[in-house]
């Protein structure tokens, strides 16, 4: 996306800036602000989980109970959606959930000139979604062999409908990684653009003479939108984890 010259464009916040140029055999592998945010998220997650569970107290401390809460929450989601067999995928779902959650929440912290939401770039979310769908396909083939393709054959319908239903099932399977990645990226992108636009209204109204008495209205709306964005940030991480579970369920249990 081309950010147009002036500094108040609502999409300027999504600009990727090169911090440390690295050229890896002709491939641009520079450290960008996106990469730095991901490293910060990784450091935060690691140190939080390390220090909160390091004590291994029988009666959990405050920090430990927080990480136990997150663990229980994700474990219940996995158990409900895939069953106890699915617990082998718990580390994957937990990592995805907490990574997306921390990146979403880090993007909500306003730091002048530095704020950046990693998950508002489709390159990141598409990589995560392709990872999920790749694991679904590989594990499904490993577990069920070619019988994995039975998920494309809906059960309980007459065979005469197969020529219509099987292409539909295949299309819906292919669109899964697309919708999974676009859902997360579009939510983050649209939310942050909306915040910026409403915040821009405050400035516009303040400079509009007598109309400046209306300026608190968009300001209040910005505050409300910020609250909604926090809800969306957590919800989208949860939705990403739940949909990952639902897709993995196909791979674990085969045809429906």
């Amino acid at each position: 996306m081309a950010a147009d010259g002036h500094g108040h464009s609502p999409i300027k916040q999504f600009e990727i800036k090169e911090v440390l140029p690295i050229d890896l055999f002709g491939i641009d592998a520079s450290l960008t602000n996106s990469g730095i945010y991901m490293l910060v998220a990784l450091g935060l997650i690691f140190s939080f989980l390390y220090f909160s569970t390091g004590g291994r107290n029988l009666v959990p401390t405050r920090l430990q109970s927080v990480s136990e809460l997150i663990y229980e929450f994700v474990a219940n989601t996995v158990r409900e959606n895939i069953g106890t067999q699915g617990m082998q995928f718990f580390p994957l779902v937990f990592s995805l959930f907490i990574f997306v959650l921390v990146l979403n929440l880090l993007g909500m912290i306003p730091i002048p000139g530095l704020t950046f939401t990693v998950t508002s770039h489709i390159a990141v979310t598409a990589a995560l979604a392709l990872l999920v769908i790749g694991i679904v396909i590989l594990y499904g083939l490993y577990k069920h062999g070619l019988g994995f393709f039975g998920i494309f054959v809906p059960s309980g319908v007459p065979a005469a409908l197969y020529p219509i239903l099987i292409p539909i099932e295949i299309i819906s399977f292919i669109s899964r990684p697309i919708s999974l990645s676009v859902r997360l990226f579009a939510n983050m992108l649209a939310g942050h653009i909306a915040l910026k636009i409403f915040a821009g209204f405050v400035g516009l109204l303040l400079g509009a003479g007598v109309w400046s008495i209306l300026a608190p209205l968009p300001l209040a709306l910005t505050v409300a939108l910020t609250a909604l964005e926090f809800l969306v940030a957590v919800l989208q991480a949860y939705v990403f984890a739940v949909l990952t579970c639902i897709y993995l369920n196909d791979a674990v249990h085969g045809s429906h």
Partner: protein, 75 residues
């Protein structure tokens, strides 16, 4: 037609898709509320499902907003 004008008209039309998300969200919360008022004791257990449905429905509205934003800023 002036291409810039067509761009803005297209962005406006793309926003109509949000009406669908509005209908969906109204349906979702309305049905939840009517169910929850009939059987309040079962309502708490379904709050997670409600929020999941909210996020899935809202995402579809966001898709149309995304098209509008792409038209405004990226095309």
């Amino acid at each position: 037609m002036d291409p810039v004008a067509a761009k803005y008209i297209g962005a406006g039309i793309a926003c109509l898709g949000m009406a669908g998300a509005g209908i969906g969200l109204g349906n979702l919360f309305g049905q939840f509320l009517s169910g929850a008022l009939r059987n309040p004791s079962a309502a708490d257990g379904q709050r997670g499902t409600l929020l999941l449905g909210f996020a899935l429905t809202e995402a579809l509205g966001i898709f149309s907003l995304l098209i509008a934003l792409l038209l405004l800023f990226a095309v």
